[in-house]
Amino acid sequence: MPTRPEITQAARFEYGIRPDQPRFPGSLMAQLSGPDPLDDTMPVTRTAARMAELQKLRAARADAPMLQQAKRALRQQASTDMMRILARMVRNPRGFRERLFAFWIDHFTVSPNRANEVFLLAAYFEDAIRAHIGGSFADMLKAAITHPSMLFYLDQSASVGPGSPVGQRRSRGLNENLAREVLELHTLGVDGPYTQADIRQFAELLTGIGIGPEGMRFVPNRAEPGAESILGLSYGGGGAQLADILGFLDDLAIMPATARHLAQKLAVHFIGPAPPPDLVADMAAAYLATGGALPALYEVLTQHPSARAALFPKVRPPFEYIATALRALDVDADIIAGATAREANRLGRQLTAMGQKPFRPGGPDGWPEAAESWITPPQLAARISWAGQLARTYAKEQDPRMLLSALLGNTAPAALSFSVRGAESKSVGVALLLASPALMRR
């Protein structure tokens, strides 16, 4: 039976308890050291391979039946990748690692609109985000901002310096979308020390970055000539080069406003809507002291007294909730990874009804954090319905009373114990447990 500290940690920092799985030994930070074996045993498509497939798609443009077939295959692969992402969450004993993955893909939100963007999404998650979860924020920032997925999503691929040779010849111009969101959402935060002029200058600095056949490609002919002055510092001025852009992102990553923004966001995500100010300040200070190492943020976060409080002000968003419920029932991750496209689509519709169309947040600010955003009457109805279906499928192998004890030990609220024991059937008992705040809050 799990102890209260184990239950609290699994709720706040992981995807809950999986009864058939021993707890990962050591502290939460221990989960971050070394490679994750699941990256190899449950791989998803990488950027280079997917870009090559998109090239083939372009080559097949003239041949309609072949194009259709190639697109169908890519759609199937994209669906498989998404189910593998869920399956990793369900299987991984390093739950903190998976939660950080979910946090950072939301921080660097890409919500694809076009087919090519959908096909690239899992590769973006893998190469730009997952590879850097335990490393430096500057590396993640540079990888995310220069990945084709982000360049497509925030229109950078279409932005051209108006004074550049390409801009002059084709009278094309600037698009400031990416520059704005990097400052507002990814680094300094909306309260940060920047102005419209900084956005404009940053947008000019970013010109030249575009997408080539193999991935991000820097085209000096598209870059706005001259130096840019951003946040009081000067970048570029020689021949246009990618290094100037990366240099600015390196500087941006370790600005105090960025440290505060990241600390506050992590604390709100894992602790609650009003995290203790000392926690946020200590996290930011530790981050700056290490020159922008992400583990420094996590270390302070997971050791603060508020991390151990048995009070759960947050609600797991739908995708996190279904992973938690599937773990609670010991569902085999291979069943999830091997789901057909039809099954994946049905799950997608159910998640949409819960308020979270999978991997398609409404805007670049990602999914909402507030508990109230996820438990409106229709959303809760969709969760209860899904829990009922899952319970009916798996209840035969479950005794609701044993499950209650395996998941919540001695911490189950009296009303929940009473109701689970008093249910008219095993499946209703399991459904009530899955639909309870104890499984949805964290």
Partner: protein, 389 residues
């Protein structure tokens, strides 16, 4: 675990008891509804380009800023100065019947940072701070307006759709439902679930409403326009009963590129929603005002990718039998370089909250002084704008 893949998430009836669905709470009509007038507020998320929806073709500078988007092609003349984007062409009969109108060159007090999220926050909370920094626990202006409505009850205001709307959030109770959601529980399971949720107010309140509302509407299907139509049809159903105020959202307005393709898609949803409201409301359409508002407008000049970027002044779309339609309300600022806000945006010549405030006053008899004090703090409502007939 020996379960076959086929069994993963198979479609089953909910908890196996769908026939026994019986709402714990049935909304009962006991008191008189607060008046007959109806208000629908549609939030257009993503910043609608007012200059493309309602093109100022009479302004000599317009086509210069917009070589591809600023032509008279794809728009029909309304009054010699403004032309309506053809994607709203299905609404022309309403224009002629004075049931469609517009307000142009308006904005909320939000300035300069041009963030969707802050802009929408300000649009929905009705606050007065130009920097727009979100503050925790802010209620929506429509929720605060409910406090000024005598006899307002749970059913009086309805938020429609899957996402929670800040516009209606706050202390005053309101209803929320997503047409298409369904919940069928055995009476016993429902009673046990109610018991489990009793100590958690957030879950308890949502579950109570879900149990009461489930099974009252058909499911949703089809594309985006179909989805918007379904939201509107459900809103109309509620407005024909006890509800007097409804809100929902339509997205897809953030047209940074390919605007000539993307804007008509979003306008198609808005058009479908307005027509579905009219069809669903029947005779009640005559007592209805629809106000569609957006967080800010877009740049006057088109950008290098056939789109427009985040701007300031924008437009509001109005419809309904209760409005003083068939006209465009605007103090036009002009589009020459010196007329623009920060050399790039349409200069807002009025606060859009004045129009919202006067609509509340004319439809529901709320006092202007009370609206200024609690619904739109810091707003000077001045003389009546006259958008309600």
């Amino acid at each position: 675990m020996t379960l076959s893949r086929r069994k993963f998430l198979v479609k089953t009836s909910l908890l196996g008891c769908s026939a026994a669905a019986s709402p714990l709470l049935t909304p009962l009509t006991l008191a008189a509804a607060p008046g007959d007038n109806r208000l629908v507020v549609i939030i257009l998320r993503g910043a609608m380009d007012g200059l493309d929806v309602l093109r100022p073709i009479g302004d000599p500078d317009f086509s210069r800023h917009r070589p591809t988007l600023g032509t008279t092609q794809g728009a029909q003349d309304l009054d010699g100065f403004f032309a309506l984007n053809d994607a709203l062409g299905a609404l022309m009969p309403l224009w002629r019947a004075k049931e469609l109108g517009f307000v142009h060159a308006v904005s909320t007090p939000y300035r300069d940072k041009r963030s969707h999220f802050d802009g929408q926050d300000l649009l929905e909370t009705g606050r007065n701070d130009p920097d727009g920094t979100p503050k925790a626990g802010q209620s929506g202006w429509l929720n605060r307006a409910l406090a000024l409505l005598p006899n307002a009850r749970l059913e009086t205001a309805f938020s429609v759709g899957a996402a929670r709307m800040q516009l209606l959030d706050g202390d005053r109770p309101y209803s929320a439902w997503n047409p298409g959601a369904e919940l069928a529980l055995s009476p016993q399971a429902e009673a046990l679930l109610t018991r489990i949720y009793a100590d958690d107010p957030l879950f308890a309140a949502s579950a109570r409403r879900a149990m009461a509302l489930s099974g009252q509407s058909d499911g949703m299907g089809g594309g985006r326009a179909e989805a918007a139509k379904n939201l509107a049809a459900f809103a109309a159903e509620r407005l024909n009963e006890e509800t007097r105020i409804a809100g929902f959202s339509i997205g897809g307005w953030d047209t940074h590129s390919g605007q000539s393709r993307n804007l008509p898609r979003a306008l198609g949803q808005l058009s479908a929603a307005i027509l579905a409201l009219k069809a669903g409301l029947g005779r009640n359409w005559q007592r209805t005002t629809v106000l569609a508002i957006t967080e800010f407008g877009r740049t006057v000049a088109e950008n290098g990718t056939g789109g427009t970027d985040h701007g300031t002044g924008g437009a509001m779309v109005m419809a309904g039998g209760a409005i003083n339609g068939g006209r465009v309300f605007a103090q036009w600022p002009g589009l020459s370089e010196r007329d623009l806000y920060q050399n790039r945006d349409l200069e807002p010549t009025d606060d859009v909250r004045r129009y919202l405030g006067w609509a509340l006053r004319d439809l529901f008899g709320m006092q202007a002084s009370a609206l200024e004090a609690s619904v739109f703090p810091g707003l000077d409502m001045r003389e009546n704008v006259g958008i309600i007939a």
